[in-house]
Amino acid sequence: MSQATGGGSSTSWQQPDTPPFLRIEGVVKRFGDFVAVDGVSLDIYRKELFCLLGGSGCGKTTLLRMLAGFEQPSEGHIYLDGSDMTDAPPYERPVNMMFQSYALFPHMTVAGNVAFGLKQDRVPAPEIKRRVTEALDLVQLGPFAKRKPHQLSGGQRQRVALARCLIKRPKLLLLDEPLAALDKKLREQTQFELMTIQEEVGITFIVVTHDQEEAMSLSTRIAVMDRGQIAQVGTPTEIYEYPRTRFTADFIGSINFFDGKVTGREGEALTVDVPVLGISLQVRSEIELPPGREVCVAVRPEKISISREPLDLPNVLRGKVRDLGYLGNLSVYRVELDGGRLVKVSTANTLHSTEREVDWDDMVYLGWRSSAALVLSE
């Protein structure tokens, strides 16, 4: 898509000639009759922080376990840095994994846990010592080297697990729900630490998560998975602003859908007749869709203006405020349209006031620009 609004312009996944660092090619995983991963192909580039996002049972963890070597794909291939590692056992892959449970060895100290990987490679003792100190400093756990895992807090354990994976300098680091076991405040803080560390060490990270906010704020790119397949791959902005399917649009953030039929085109905008609303909506779209095509118009709540005064916008609806939620930074409304349809709207609380512009049971106008909505044909 040309509307891509990624970060820097030199990012490798946007340059067509960069060879992928990790190539997943038509990977299928079956457990008996159940297809956990159903034909996934993905190209992931060097130094990316790539997120596999999906609900439980979508196959994201199975895919990660195949990358680590704990599961063998039923079909397809996995190439890392040019070499086929589809059938390599976990102990021969330049890949390390951070487990959701952290899987710290309870009978070893923090330093023992972190040194474990290097000992397996028969790295000389003085170098192990130096690198363990380095790794523990990186995650700010130097003073805790002699503790046992059960003497640490959840956040500290998470950092030990991270140090234990990083110390082997893997080509690829896999993180299974790295922040799921932490409380909210710690999660936000750790999220940024994770990003900083990733930039510092320059290792390609693949993160599995079910938390869309986490995926949005962490990653360079996200692959949204649904029932074993990749629903969409893109930067967080692409995924949020230009979801390609109804599933992706619904999974990431909150959204309103209006089913309708294309009736024609007026300049940049398609006209979509929505029977439920009894009106036509104007949606900007570059994709040419023939009249009569069944589509879905999707609008995010924060892109809808809400007012008691009539609005001068191409798409305007009228309704009554049924629900109002004050979240501090945001206010969310559920507005019942004349036809009984509920529409979610949210506004930023920019004014410092306890007065409400729009209140319960107010008759309001909802409106949005034609460029604020999306047409989904899948």
Binding site: F70, P89, Y91, S101, A103, H107, F116, Q120
Partner: protein
């Protein structure tokens, strides 16, 4: 502070404070107290009696030992019986032989039981309960009956010998009954479940991702077993070994049914002293000495348990 102070009663200057509920009268304490009382009554009391008898001299009378206090009220205790145990090498040989037979059997149980427990712990959950049931199944038959069954298997004209003779592998029956070999078979067979169950309990609780993490960090499967699984299953190994070793040392039925005349075990010696020689004081001294031999491993077990709980 504005809280109203109650005016003190001049006769009772210290207001009666509610006593803290005592441990033993609270529900939790009472539940603990009952088994403790039981143990006190049925372990400590007989132990005290046996200790008393071990300090007496034998008599041809009823009961066959001198009372603790003579007719003049003087204490008549003697350590002669213990001295006798020490001087007659029969007893020391029997103790050492018991330790050896029990020790080797424990090792055999561990070698057979560990892979079994490991296999059970790694089996699919539905199969696990069936396997567990199969381990416990022998307990549904009498212990004595199962030892007799081994006699039928190991006899000169028993199952094994007849099979081997019939196949022409041997032309003389192999002497298996009444040997140490038969005792090893008997003890290992009888006590194997006591090794498997604690090992299984430990291995089953071991998170699978620890081994995966070890492999992920570069361990081959056998190395992951040696560095992760084995050290983490040490509590199970110790518990299982003690559960096999302690009763095996004092085992009486197996050596007397399967063992030969020269495979001395302390349990048999004890029986012979009590019922053959009717020398109750020496028999009691044997029993007390056996207890002392076993106290060391029991203490080890206790310390291990404490350390595990502390961890």
């Amino acid at each position: 502070m504005t809280t109203a102070q109650p005016t003190p009663d001049p006769r009772r200057p210290f207001p009666k404070t509610r006593r803290k509920p005592r441990f033993w009268t609270r529900g939790k304490g009472a539940v603990t107290a009952v088994p403790y009382f039981w143990l006190l009554l049925f372990f400590l009391l007989p132990f005290a009696i046996v200790l008393k008898i071990s300090l007496a001299e034998p008599l041809i009378a009823q009961p066959p030992f001198t009372p603790l206090f003579g007719p003049d009220g003087a204490l008549q205790a003697t350590l002669d019986n213990y001295r006798f145990l020490w001087e007659d090498h029969l007893y020391i040989v029997a103790y050492l032989n018991s330790l050896k037979l029990a020790g080797v059997s424990t090792l055999l149980c561990l070698l057979i039981g560990y892979p079994m427990a490991y296999g059970m712990a790694k089996a699919p959950p539905a199969l696990r309960n069936i396997l567990l049931l199969l381990v416990i199944l022998p307990f549904w038959t009498s212990f004595l009956l199962r030892v007799y069954a081994w006699m039928g298997i190991l006899r000169n004209n028993g199952l094994i010998n007849n099979l081997l003779l019939g196949l022409g592998v041997i032309d003389q029956p192999i002497q298996m009954m009444n040997t140490d070999f038969a005792i090893y078979i008997g003890i290992t067979y009888s006590y194997l479940p006591f090794m498997i169950l604690p090992l299984y309990a430990v291995l089953e609780r071991l998170p699978g991702d620890l081994v995966e993490a070890a492999q992920d960090l570069g361990c081959r499967p056998w190395k992951a077993f040696a560095t992760i699984t084995l050290p983490l299953s040490v509590p199970g190994i110790i518990a299982g070994s003690l559960l096999v070793f302690i009763p095996a040392v004092g085992e009486f039925v197996i050596p007397s049914l399967l063992g030969g005349p020269d495979s001395l075990m302390i349990g048999r010696v004890l029986w012979d002293e009590f019922f053959g020689n009717r020398d109750w004081p020496v028999a009691s001294a044997v029993a007390i000495a056996l207890l002392l031999v076993l106290v060391v491993p029991i203490m080890m077990f206790q310390r291990m348990q404490l350390r595990r709980e502390g961890a």
